[in-house]
């Protein structure tokens, strides 16, 4: 009988020992023992892992933050771009509404020809009431042409350059508009003032004025077409010792918010100055 070599015997013992350890481990017999041995390893692993992750984060996280910041900036840019587009659209919508209403007005008076113009400035003098529009003689605008909006009378062209014009508003202290009372068919005059208020004058004491009465252009004097809305009476001032009564007028147009106007181009102003008799000295 062949004898077992010591090396083989050692291997068999080692295998049996390992198998025994595995069986004991599977059976849970070695758990306390393994816990004692593995504890320091786990602690060391956790410590190393935490440090490693900190270092890893140090190198990787800033890149993520940068990316996020870039993305955030990009989105903010997009938002601001969209916001500006919204504002632009709102502005265009408002302009379109103004132009549509001007167009409606123009359609309601087919006998007149119009040029639509944008208000681009205001006279720097606080005493005078003029606005600047973006159309001039190159566009067919001429001195004296009446200017209106869909609401009513604005004024008349007072000065013209090739590409812009200056409009004298009816609130200007030098402005006088011949008007008639809609209900009573009585002629009168509306005058501007330094403060921008307009006043009805040259009304006989026999006429009864009421607040709310509507004033339309009469066409007398040849400066404005007839039947354009000017305003309505607010307060009547009637003094017994004066020849005429006066009244404060609320204009139909808000001159501070004037954005676009229509210049009536086919209305020819008439200079009646030569017809006025000169008083003999």
């Amino acid at each position: 009988m062949k004898s077992i070599s010591p090396r083989t015997l050692r291997n068999v013992v080692a295998v049996l020992f390992i198998v025994g350890l595995i069986l004991l481990s599977l059976g849970g017999v070695l758990r306390p023992f393994l816990g004692i041995i593995m504890g320091p390893f786990v602690t060391a692993q956790r410590w190393i892992s935490e440090r490693f992750m900190a270092v890893y984060d140090f190198f990787t996280l800033p890149r993520d933050v940068t990316e996020l910041l870039q993305r955030n900036a990009q989105l903010e840019n997009e938002v601001s771009h969209l916001q500006s587009q919204v504002i632009q659209s709102q502005e265009q919508l408002r302009e379109a509404e103004v132009l549509y209403s001007l167009l409606d007005f123009a359609r309601s008076r087919p006998q007149d020809q119009y040029i639509a113009a944008a208000v681009i400035g205001k006279d720097p003098s606080p005493f005078l009431h003029y606005v600047i529009i973006d159309h001039g003689s190159d566009d067919g605008v001429q001195y004296g042409m009446p200017v209106v909006t869909q609401q009513g009378l604005v004024g008349r062209v007072a000065a013209v350059t090739a590409s812009a014009s200056r409009i004298q508003l009816i609130t200007d202290p030098e402005s006088i508009v011949n008007v008639r009372l809609q209900n009573q068919n009585e002629d009168a005059q509306v005058e501007g003032s330094i403060t921008g208020d307009i006043t009805l004058g040259m009304v006989s004491q026999n006429i009864t004025l009421n607040s709310g009465d509507i004033l339309l252009t009469s066409g007398l004097g040849g400066n404005y077409p007839t039947d354009i809305l000017v305003g309505q009476i607010v307060i009547v001032e009637k003094k017994e010792n004066e020849l005429f009564q006066t009244a404060s007028i609320q204009p139909v147009i808000d001159f501070t918010a004037l954005r676009a106007v229509l210049v009536i181009t086919n209305f020819k102003t008439i200079n009646i100055q030569p017809l006025i008799p000169i008083p003999v000295q």
Binding site: I120, G121, K122, D123, P124, S125, P126, F127, L128, Y130, I132, A158, A159, R166, Q168, D172, P173, E174, I194, T195, G196, T256
Partner: protein
């Protein structure tokens, strides 16, 4: 010499801003006057007679836009430039005081010249109402934007002719 040429675009831009924006921002009946403030600021920043050229250029631009008589507009800005020079010579060590006094007196002088011009135009006005609704708001609004305008103009003056820096070195 450069300052004279620079006055053309600067005053043109200021005139446009005045017409488009500043004149529309009103308090009662008054509004700020950028040209007046720019003239005063330039007079304080640049201690020479170029302020008269700035006043003349500003006056010409405004008279092209405004319905006020050109002579009145140009004269008022030239007088303001003169007032600024006189105060500046007297109080050269206190530029803030100079600019405050010049703009205050300048606004009043411009109001007086405007009122005289309106009388010549045949426009009636109640002086008390005009002071209350135009002059007082003008003074307040000018005071509001005086220092921003002064800062811009003094910076511009330093860029155009940096003589003070050479002197200090």
């Amino acid at each position: 010499m450069i300052s004279i040429f620079v006055s053309l675009p600067i005053m043109l831009i200021l005139s446009v801003i005045q017409t488009v924006a500043v004149s529309r921002v009103t308090l009662m009946g008054g509004s700020a006057d950028l040209i007046l403030l720019a003239t005063v600021s330039w007079g304080v920043s640049e201690e020479d007679s170029s302020v008269f050229v700035w006043a003349l250029v500003g006056g010409i631009f405004i008279s092209l836009i405004s319905a006020m008589p050109s002579a009145a507009v140009i004269t008022s800005y030239l007088v303001i430039a003169g007032i600024t020079r006189v105060i500046q010579i007297g109080l050269w060590q206190a530029p803030i005081l100079v600019i405050l006094l010049s703009s205050f007196i300048g606004t009043i002088v411009k109001f007086i010249i405007d009122v005289i011009a309106l009388q010549f135009m045949g426009i009636e006005l109640n002086l008390y109402t005009s002071i209350k609704t135009t002059l007082a708001p003008n003074l307040i609004l000018n005071l509001f934007i005086l220092f921003p305008v002064y800062l811009i103009m003094s910076d511009l003056a330093k860029r155009i002719s940096p003589k003070e820096e050479y002197e200090s070195k």
